[in-house]
Amino acid sequence: MNKIDILITGVGGQGTILAGKILGQLALNANLDVKMAETHGMAQRGGSVITHVRLGEKVYSPLIPLGAADFLLSFEQLETMRWLPYLRRGGTIIYHTRSLAPLPVLCKQMSYPAHIPEQLDALEVQVIPVTGENTPVEKNPRVLNITLLGVLSKHLPFKQEQWLEALENTVPPKFLDLNKEAFLAGQSL
């Protein structure tokens, strides 16, 4: 299998680390090599966070080189724009269309960038917007990370059972059903 580089971006607290862990477990169960790099500490307090995930036969750097990511899996519009330079030419963007205003926008010092979907569509890449409508995300924004993994799963060479097994290995039992539901909802979008 060719190496797959996935950059997961979001806002502190949205679950980028858990999404990375599930991808890692998926790779481990499939006997692949995997490396991940995460944001901890000060930046987590509502700041912009990213998790690098790289899987393949052999992975060296835990950081995806700038311009090398096959997938940008983004939980928020503005963060999609911020981390876009990591995406390779011909890569794929899967992003949640919700916008979360950062402090400069909340305080009306700056405005939230307009026309992000149009800007993304103008790039020569595959763009998959996810609204979350008619999925468990509507009721519970905390499962957004899992639903987006469901969308991503359609582009990766793993079977549904492998994904569900990775979820079982990673998610605490009491949240497992909710997360499976969120994953399958994403997969059926």
Partner: protein
């Protein structure tokens, strides 16, 4: 068995497998999870210590008592522990002692990016540098073996990208945990000058033996590739270089101090050009240049920040990865970290800003109060510095005490603020100190400390009484205030600043992440909002302005994101027009 572990989890695993029975630390990003994880294994006595110096001293004692020991800290923590560290290098050890120090190139959560590889050179102590989680696990074991074989503490130096990256680890079973019997060796452990002179001779002999040891050490690996380019590297930089130059020859230094000239010269003779790939300081580069070997390094690579694969490639004029033609990202609104909804620090720092005070700050979540919109901090140097800095300003300008306060967290005060407050009292200062007491070490992820009443293992223990502690230092004006009661808190600060003697305000409010309030969000009465933005001055992410409603000013009215509002009611105290009215269930906690 194969599992995925972060570097820190792998270090804990390695310590467990190597028979470590005592481990100590003070939390600090990116090192914190080492002790948190090690504490989950049976048979290891793990503890948070008040600071890194104490942690290393307890570790030294445990080693003297015959146990295998691990002590963990972030890079700047080793500055605090440098005093015992330097002399521990002389005394040597009984049970193996490994000091894990986690550097933070790029400063993701630190006040500087000092290169702690200097400490190995300064103390003449061997150092290992893992490049991923499996190496981290193996190197803990190797470090303890080296420690016992050479009678020395050993540094295991990680960086953020090793500690906080996850990769595959082969876990093994634990060995038996044997304690060496204690026997008195005063000439080795009592560092009187006469004894210390003899020990320094031993340190030099040890250093020379370690150089020979490094020549054939299996963790110093030569990977034969093209003879055109040879790369000498250590730690995670190896992986970046491997990514950029898969065809090159490599000398990867696992035991990266001391260096073996024999090994380096052997490698240098096999390649035409040498590219030194190391983060921060040119330490390997300088040592290797001193051997008379010509290399490239910091002439091509930055001396600040962390490296990344593309930086290593570009340094050698190689462009590999072709990204999308993305629109410029510089002008996008930033997303700085900020205080959580319901955080008590917000009320305290808002008050200090409104009073236009000079605020000497410290290390913790509250340092975020330096950022807009609060911008209520004038300095932040290191753990505990706020108190001494405020007192120093008073010495420079005798009237400064009336307009200056020090702010310091509870954990930070216990770490290294106590002695500075003692100095204020002893040397007749008039400083006002605000201890922001949220009952935890919040920034690093809610670790316990000597005033929380719980150990690392969550066992109940004596909780330091901060009021009594401060009084015992000679501060007679001590009061406890709720920083989210703005009027009362403001009054308290004004009163303490008006008194020409040392005073301490304990601003006590539980960390919002740890203890969520069950208050309802404030009631928003849109008709009353005039869009004055007074409430936005506190920088709460739950508050915003909406372009709706009958507002007169710019057509904006306040809105609350009820999903994230914590119901702290701070904003309702700022609204003079009744647009934000207190939610119900005031002050009760779940």
């Amino acid at each position: 068995m194969k599992v995925i572990l972060s570097g820190n989890e792998a270090i804990a695993r390695g310590a467990y497998e190597a028979g470590v029975t005592v481990a100590t630390a003070y939390p600090g990003t990116p090192s914190t999870e080492i002790l948190e994880n090690l504490a989950t294994y049976p048979g290891v006595n793990c503890s948070w210590c008040p600071n890194e110096k104490v942690a290393l001293e307890v570790a030294a004692g445990a080693s003297l008592g015959g146990a295998r020991v691990l002590v963990a800290m972030k890079h700047v923590g080793l500055n605090v522990a440098a005093d015992p560290f330097m002399t521990l290098a002389y005394t040597g050890i009984e049970g193996g002692l490994i000091l894990v120090c986690a550097d933070d190139p790029g400063m993701f959560s630190s006040q500087n990016e000092q290169d702690n590889r200097y400490y190995a050179r300064m103390a003449k102590v061997p150092m290992l540098e893992p490049a991923d989680s499996e190496e981290a696990r193996l190197m803990v074991k190797e470090a303890l073996d080296i420690s016992e074989k050479f009678d020395t503490p050993v540094l295991l130096r990680t960086t953020t990208r090793v500690s906080h990256s996850r990769s595959i680890v082969n876990v093994e079973d634990e060995p038996s945990r044997a304690i060496r019997p204690y026997s008195k060796k005063a000439a080795k452990y009592v560092m009187l000058p006469a004894f210390a002179r003899l020990r320094h001779e031993e340190v030099e002999k040890r250093r020379k033996r370690l150089i020979d040891f490094a020549t054939t050490h299996p963790m110093n690996i030569i990977e034969k590739g093209s003879s055109e380019l040879g790369i000498i590297t250590a730690g995670v930089s190896y992986h970046y270089a491997k990514e950029a130059f898969p065809e090159a020859s490599f000398l990867k230094l696992g035991l990266s101090y001391p260096l073996s000239p024999e090994l380096i010269k052997d490698f240098a003779s096999q390649v035409k050009k040498i590219y030194m790939v190391e983060e921060l300081e040119p330490l390997l580069e300088n040592d290797i240049k001193a051997m008379g070997i010509k290399v490239h390094g910091k002439d091509l690579l930055p001396r600040t920040g962390e490296l990344r694969p593309e930086i290593v490639a570009q340094g050698w004029q190689k462009n590999i990865w072709q990204g999308v033609n993305a629109p410029a990202t510089e002008k996008l609104p930033g997303r700085p970290p900020l205080f959580c909804p319901g955080c008590g620090h917000r009320g305290a720092l808002y008050t200090l800003k409104r009073l236009k005070l000079t605020v000497t700050g410290d290390i913790g979540c509250y340092t975020l109060g330096a950022l807009p919109p609060l911008e209520a901090m004038d300095s932040c140097i290191c753990m505990g510095a706020s108190v001494g800095t405020a007192f120093g300003m008073e010495k420079a300008d005798p009237s400064a005490w009336q307009k200056t306060v020090a702010v310091i967290g509870d954990s930070t005060f216990l770490h290294s603020g106590i002695t500075a407050l003692m100095d204020v009292v002893y040397n007749k200062g008039k400083t006002t100190v605000i201890i922001l007491d949220n009952g935890t070490t919040a920034m690093t992820g809610h670790q316990d400390h000597p005033a929380t009443g719980q150990t690392l293992q969550k066992e109940p223990t004596y909780a330091v009484d901060l009021e009594a502690l401060v009084r015992s230092l000679g501060v007679s004006r001590v009061r406890v205030e709720n920083p989210l009661q703005l009027d009362a808190f403001r009054q308290a600060v004004k009163e303490e600043l008006s008194v020409p003697e040392p005073s301490v305000i304990i601003a006590r409010y539980p960390c919002a992440l740890k203890q969520r309030l069950q208050n309802e969000p404030p009631l928003v009465v849109k008709e009353n909002c005039i869009g004055c933005k007074a409430c936005l001055g506190i920088g709460c992410p739950a508050l915003s302005l909406e372009e709706t409603g009958p507002a007169e000013d710019q057509g904006l009215t306040v809105a609350i994101d009820e999903d994230i509002c914590n119901g702290c009611n701070l904003c309702t105290q700022l609204c003079r027009y009744g647009a934000l009215q207190p939610g119900e269930g005031k002050g009760e906690t779940k």
